[in-house]
Assembly symmetry: C2
Homo-oligomer: 194 residues x 2
DNA sequence: CTTCTTAGCGGACCGTCAGTCCGCTAAAGG
DNA sequence: CCTTTAGCGGACTGACGGTCCGCTAAGAAG
């Protein structure tokens, strides 16, 4: 698996330039007026380069989201508890939601753009699949009596750019994450299903 | 409030034709290739007429969704229990989710199109606001210790076209609704918050 | 350093979309 | 029947996501 012998220096530089340009536009301009033309222009590359690197608008957003959540993914897979393996599932879930909530609170515009771009088959997104699988496993271990596949989707569906924005105020910057965690606790502590 | 003296017969007929055309395209073609050009063509009217009547793509989708959920809205406001006033909040909530779930299961494509069209400020949609308010009130009455404003959004965020489609199989056509209800029950029966 | 190969670039181009505009038609009222 | 004007239709616009292909320059080889 160690092919792709050489990647031209230009290619690497352009990839980074495009990602940075997209991030800047998302931060500055809110969300959906981040057109690929604009991204290309700000990155100082041609439009074709953006599509060569990322395939589509959705691909670009996925790459951006993956970049922002890479650390969390690694911490979950092989980091120390309670995020990583070893802690009881309930604690791992709360730690994971804390991490994901932090990302969401700092990247609401990216979340919106990502939802928009991945309108169909959002569930096919690699990051989404990883998150769902992780929540699913933890929930299933803690509460096998519930429909955990659905609940994992339910917990993730809350990470919506507009909802995050609406819940995040300067005087209570972590209300979103706290409420998501409260919801998870409520689900975990609910009466066993008949 | 009985102004709008006359609405020309043509206008009424065209409004209905546009709504029906949009419904047909949603049913047949899945979701997002329901362009307003196509709707206008199928309805046998000009594009301008669509915009005169509904203002925008979002307006059309809102009108469609409102039409589909009008009966539920009325039943909630003044129908018999457990949907209408009189029953305890938990039962009313489950009845409401049952009704909304039924609508969602039969209109997944419309849900997707609506989400797409109302990408920004979905929370400003009249139907959404009504639903949120209703769930909020019921939850707040049953569980004032929780962040009910957030939880109402969380319950509604699950009514996503793709998620509904993914959960609805021929052999278990009401799995989505059942799981949503289970989730609500779990929230209602969770341990009181510290 | 020069030459050759080709990965990779750029931006003109395309089809489609939401939304606008305005001259015309025909519906309703007298 | 005539007048008024609500309402119609569809050409038009600007912007978008995505494609295409001729050219450039990066890197390997000598």
């Amino acid at each position: 698996m160690a092919e792709q012998r050489h990647e031209r220096a230009n290619a690497v530089r352009n990839r980074r330039a495009v990602l940075q340009a997209a991030e800047r536009l998302l931060e500055e301009g809110g969300d959906e007026h981040v057109s690929l033309d604009r991204v290309a222009a700000l990155a100082g590359v041609g439009k074709g380069t953006v599509f060569r690197r990322f395939g589509s608008r959705a691909g670009l957003m996925q790459a951006l989201l993956e970049e922002r959540s890479l650390a969390l993914r690694e911490a979950v897979a092989e980091g120390p508890p309670p995020l990583g393996p070893g802690a009881p599932p309930g604690e791992r879930l709360l730690a994971f939601l804390d991490g994901l909530g932090g990302i969401a609170e700092h990247n609401a515009a990216l979340l919106t753009a990502h939802e928009q771009a991945c309108a169909d088959d959002k569930q096919a997104d690699p990051s989404y699949m990883f998150w769902h699988r992780h929540i699913y496993d933890l929930l299933a271990e803690a509460r096998p009596d519930l429909d955990t596949e659905f609940l994992a989707h339910a917990l993730l569906s809350v990470f919506d750019g507009n909802l995050v924005r609406g819940m995040t105020r300067a005087d209570d910057p972590r209300r979103f994450t706290a409420s998501v965690q409260d919801m998870a606790v409520a689900l975990l502590t609910s009466a066993p299903r008949t």
